[in-house]
């Protein structure tokens, strides 16, 4: 899939396009699984918001890498070892769960609808929902504090404009 391309390509814009491809195909997988609104949110939030933001930042920065620059860092070999260990451990766990015959493919797997999800979301998990709102507000405030929003309009100009208006 497109995820392998992300590791190989050099230009950040092409990596972003590969990631967009990966996310769109994940949205298609969610759609095939029957969770259509999660697919819609995947496309809307990830591809629509996060990746557009990322592409804008890539175009805004436009820092050219030098041609002879190394693509991978010095940690490439330990990173590959950690990758192999991660795949091994997770694969062994999944394999063992498959061999023990976990109860899978329950008949109500397809019966996922929006109404029970929404009621469960807003009745049982309302505290987490409110905590996400707090987290988003904190993220907005932190982002504004990081870029240090200055709002220093000269006072006489403001008073002139208000007097003219």
């Amino acid at each position: 899939m497109g995820a392998v391309l992300m590791l190989v390509l050099r230009e950040p814009m092409r990596v972003a396009l590969a990631l967009i491809t990966t996310m769109m195909s994940l949205g298609a997988i969610y759609g095939f699984l029957g969770v259509h609104f999660i697919a819609a949110f995947q496309v809307l939030i990830y591809v629509g918001a996060v990746m557009v933001f990322m592409v804008f930042v890539i175009m805004l920065l436009e820092v050219r890498e030098a041609r002879g620059n190394k693509r991978y860092s010095n940690l490439a070999v330990p990173g590959a070892m950690v990758f192999a260990m991660m795949v091994g451990v997770l694969g062994i766990s999944v394999w063992r769960a498959m061999n023990t015959g976990a109860p899978s493919a329950s008949p109500n797997g397809e019966a996922f609808e929006l109404v029970p999800f929404s009621t469960a979301f807003l009745r049982d998990y309302w505290l987490q929902f409110e905590l996400t709102t707090v987290l988003l507000v904190a993220a907005i405030v932190a982002a504004l504090a990081v870029i240090k929003v200055h709002r220093r309009v000269p006072d006489n100009r403001v008073s002139d404009r208000s007097a003219n208006g």
């Binding site: 969770v35 990322m54 999944v94 469960a120």
Partner: protein
């Protein structure tokens, strides 16, 4: 190997490739995108488990992951912008003089 098993393998592959990308690549923006890839792998496994046992709590967790990913990008992008404004490069080896 049924459908859920295949999707679990796919989510393992996504998460591991994202981890490999975060460790291996040098570009800061590419590392951020690989973190998004890891979150996508976790989301895929959550949706698979939710589809397997039919409870809606996995969807709630998927939404929380969406929100956390959005907040993370919203914080990380201005930090990257400030770093690039200081040194005019995205290479993370140039920032090894940062002290915590």
């Amino acid at each position: 190997m049924d459908k859920h098993q295949l999707l679990l393998w796919l989510s393992i592959a996504l998460f591991s490739l994202g981890l490999l990308g975060v460790v291996v690549r040098r570009n800061a923006l590419i590392m951020l995108m690989c973190m998004e890839l890891m979150l996508n792998g976790v989301n895929l496994s959550l949706v698979t488990f939710m589809n397997q046992n039919g409870q809606p709590s996995g969807g709630v967790l998927v939404f929380l992951v969406f929100v956390v990913a959005t907040a993370e990008i919203a914080i990380a992008i201005p930090i990257v912008l400030l770093l690039v404004k200081r040194k005019r490069t995205l290479d993370l080896d140039a920032y090894t003089d940062l002290k915590g």
